[in-house]
């Protein structure tokens, strides 16, 4: 399957500083359509029927989320766009924001209409501060042209914490608190920002909305696999000749992205989904990229045969230990214990029992951590213990 431009349709085509160039390409027609001819219920039903799932990592069905917030009682509701893009190796949201801020704004306004929210927030990663003016300019132009009547969009900047990309910590951060994960239920759709019904979606998820409205759920659900509809935007980097952003229909083989498009050679392993993602050995290069298999937020990091497995896992764990919010025991203590064990292997001083301890600890972190960070933190350890156990064994002192 070749590259397919759905999400990236306008990227590089329109001028992100001029709304007219967006209007020439069906801009704000979807918003006009929902306001003119669709009930709120019809909008959430259409999104549900499309099979769209969240592109921020967890893959939750977007339509069900919207329906939940639409049905939740309450006058005050919120729409949040998650533009925190903190996952290691992802840069697709930045690529989109830089080139097509208008589609995002239109999608947020549609979301606002669908759930009955008057206020939206874009939570912008601290490191993307340079995009603030571009986004604000796009919001101002949309407002001036009358597309944001009854719906306000505000940009809130992060402060550089990975955990603040996690939806509950993100909401704490907007509320001005220390960014830490909350337990669920209650889910944001009933009790989110300031305790009000809230939907929170990734940039790329929202980018799909206007076209689903204009072309219909049927058009969208033709693309992809049984449980993964539409396209996915991937950020690929590492040992590749052509790093960058590529959009593929879901279900495309990993090989197409890594070898055909990014021209990687001599591959040892591929990390998919960043620091909390999965690690696949080269032998699995024909795995389809989909929610059924591996996907995450679409970060693909390629390592060639010159790379050391333990080094990769050790650095990954160091990152997660640094970024753990510290609230719950398994993640706060577990990531630190793992860093210290992996550091021993890194020095070539591992012990046989350390391997067993890593396995037992991985299970407990996965099963008991409060949020996705701690639950997914052991992924790199578990996958390399499965596919590259020799790398550990070689570093055991006898």
């Amino acid at each position: 399957m070749p590259q397919q431009r759905v999400v990236l349709k306008n990227c590089g085509v329109i001028d992100p500083r001029r709304i007219e160039t967006y209007l020439e390409r069906d801009g704000f027609k979807a918003l006009a359509k929902v306001r003119r001819e669709m009930t709120r219920e019809q909008v959430t039903d259409e999104i549900k029927a499309s099979g769209l799932r969240g592109r921020g990592g967890a893959g939750f069905p977007t339509g069900i989320k919207w329906e939940g917030a639409r049905q939740a009682p309450g006058e005050e509701k919120y729409v949040i766009c998650n533009a925190d893009e903190g996952e290691v190796g992802t840069f697709k949201d930045r690529y989109i924001l830089e080139r097509d801020p208008f589609t995002l704004i239109e999608a947020m306004a549609i979301a606002g209409y669908a759930i009955g929210a008057k206020q939206g927030y874009i939570y912008l990663r601290a490191e993307y501060h340079h995009l603030f003016d571009l986004l604000q300019n796009a919001i101002n132009q949309a407002k001036k042209s009358g597309y944001l009547d009854g719906f306000r969009i505000e940009i809130r900047e992060g402060a550089g914490a990975y955990i603040c990309g996690e939806e509950s910590a993100l909401m704490d951060s907007i509320e001005g608190k220390r960014g830490e994960s909350r337990y669920r239920p209650p889910f944001p759709t009933t009790s989110g920002l300031w305790g009000k019904p809230t939907i929170i979606n990734n940039v790329e998820t929202l980018m799909n909305i206007p076209q689903i409205i204009l072309n219909g759920a049927g058009w969208f659900s033709q693309m992809g696999t049984e449980r993964s509809k539409g396209t996915k935007v991937f950020s690929i980097s590492g040992d590749v000749e052509n790093p960058g952003v590529y959009e593929l229909v879901l279900g495309s083989p990993l090989r197409e992205l890594v070898e055909d498009l990014a021209s990687a050679k001599d591959i040892k392993l591929i990390q998919i989904g960043g620091a909390t993602g999965r690690i696949l050995p080269y032998e699995k290069i024909d795995t389809p990229l989909a929610f059924e298999t591996v996907l995450g937020a679409g970060a693909v990091t390629v390592y060639n045969r010159s790379r050391d497995v333990i080094d990769i896992v050790y650095r990954t764990m160091e990152f997660l230990a640094e970024e753990s919010c510290g609230k719950c025991t398994p993640c706060r203590q577990g990531t630190e214990v793992m860093v210290e064990i992996l550091e021993k292997f890194h020095r070539g001083e591992g012990r046989e029992q350390d391997i067993r301890n890593l396995e037992a600890l991985s299970q407990v972190m996965m099963l008991t951590s409060l949020c996705g960070l701690g639950q997914a933190a052991p992924n790199a350890v578990m996958d390399t213990l499965q596919y590259f156990k020799d790398a550990y064994k070689k570093r055991v002192v006898v």
Binding site: Y183, P185, C325, G326, K327, C328, P330, E340, N357, S369
Partner: protein, 227 residues
Amino acid sequence: MENKVNLTLNGRAVSARQGMTILEVARENGIDIPTLCYLEDFSPMGACRLCVVEVEGSRTLVGSCHTPVTEGMVVHTHSPKVLAARKILVELLLASHPDSCLVCDKANICELRRIAADLEVGLPRFHARKHYYPVEDENPHIIRDMSKCILCRRCVIACKSAGNGSMFSVAYRGFESKVVFGCDQLVDEAAVCPDFDGCIALCPSGALRKPVKIGEERAEKALIIKG
């Protein structure tokens, strides 16, 4: 009449009131689930994770102190999987805990030690850096030794509710997280709170204690530690 919820708890059919958490229902039915961060009269934090239980159909274990019961739920509070997980959680807390139990003031009433004994934790498998913080013993009402803190945050909650502004709060991140006084100052001689005893009584470890003068009678009863 209130809405009733029917569930299966360790193989037994029980009914509960809508809105109750798994922990509340378990306790009402005489089942003891260990907790370290939970405080009865405050909203749960879900931080220590010791109260995790198995709920059939759930991908992960769930925190019982914050998860409401639902109709038809099937819960196991002491399955082998749950007990193994709780044991490792305690081992993780002990991994960075100082080895000074023998001479710790709280030793006999330490909740961490009691839970470790109940779960038959034994020598912890895991090791992590210890935190070396200075003992804060300048104040006549409270002694803080943050190297023994297990970050249950009970004192932070108590502090917030004492209505004296928040003297204690959580700062830093991950393994470096710490309950700090003010902007991470030492609790000095001058610091006053109408209710220092509140947080001291709630602290499950040896991190907070009352300065005891030599020869003064101790209020706490001795406790027998198993194992």
